[in-house]
């Protein structure tokens, strides 16, 4: 979903930083921060071949929009977006792109950081590692390594 200042989407195809920057580059902005989460191949001694994502799509979209609305209230956002991929994401490919354009850079950094941190707490998307040896594992399913959760 996309309007003049916010864009949020769950995609099955690969994500394009190019189209995100095209959307964000706005003459009212001076600073644009873009965060991209990509599939990391190595975590300590574990070799990830790919990630796959499960998603409660309609709720994830609602939560993404709510996060963007929060950011708009807290920072002078000119444009912002959250795009998340589902399904299989091979190594070094983007699974999430978050971008914020604001008049000054400090706000872009802060809002972008806020959005990715909150996404990882609130948005119903789950990541499964497929390791090089063929084994699979959902990431931290009991939230031991996550910040405390509140409804």
């Amino acid at each position: 979903m996309k309007n003049q200042s916010l864009w949020w989407e769950i995609c099955e195809e690969s994500l394009s930083v190019e189209s995100v920057s095209k959307y964000l580059f706005d003459s009212r902005a001076g600073g644009v921060d873009i965060f991209v989460g990509i599939t990391r191949e190595w975590t300590h001694d574990k070799h990830t071949k790919m990630l796959s994502y499960d998603c409660y799509v309609p709720m994830a979209l609602k939560e993404m929009k709510a996060l963007l609305d929060d950011a708009v209230e807290r920072w002078p956002v000119v444009k912002a977006c959250i795009l998340h991929r589902t399904g299989l994401v091979p190594s070094a490919h983007p699974s999430v792109i978050i971008g914020v354009a604001t008049p000054h850079r400090k706000d872009a950094f802060e809002a972008c950081r806020f959005l990715i941190d909150q996404l990882k707490i609130r948005v119903p998307i789950w990541k499964k590692e497929t390791y090089a040896d063929g084994s699979e594992e959902w990431v931290d399913p009991t939230g031991k390594h996550s910040p405390p959760l509140q409804p």
Partner: protein, 82 residues
């Protein structure tokens, strides 16, 4: 009769072996009561009981919520997007 559709994702979907549970109960109940019931019906839900957040009709809610007929309930284990 009250009917709910309960959605499962990620590890719960895998462990329970299905992505939806249809539940019919005789009388109204709270989120907490629903989770207790599912925990006693499904071992895998039981083992995640303490970390499940409840969403009703696509929004997070407290377990104290009174569920109504036709609600879409989702059991949200800790998320890990990004």
């Amino acid at each position: 009769m009250i009917t709910f559709k309960i959605l499962l994702f990620s590890i719960l979907k895998e462990k329970v072996g299905q992505d939806t549970i249809e539940l019919k109960v005789a009388s109204s109940l709270t989120g907490e009561q629903l989770l207790d019931k599912l925990s006693s019906d499904y071992d895998s839900i039981h083992s995640f009981r303490s970390v499940i957040r409840l969403a009703v009709n696509e929004s997070y809610v407290h377990e104290s919520i009174e569920l109504t007929n036709g609600d879409e309930v989702a059991l949200i284990t800790p998320v890990s997007g990004g």
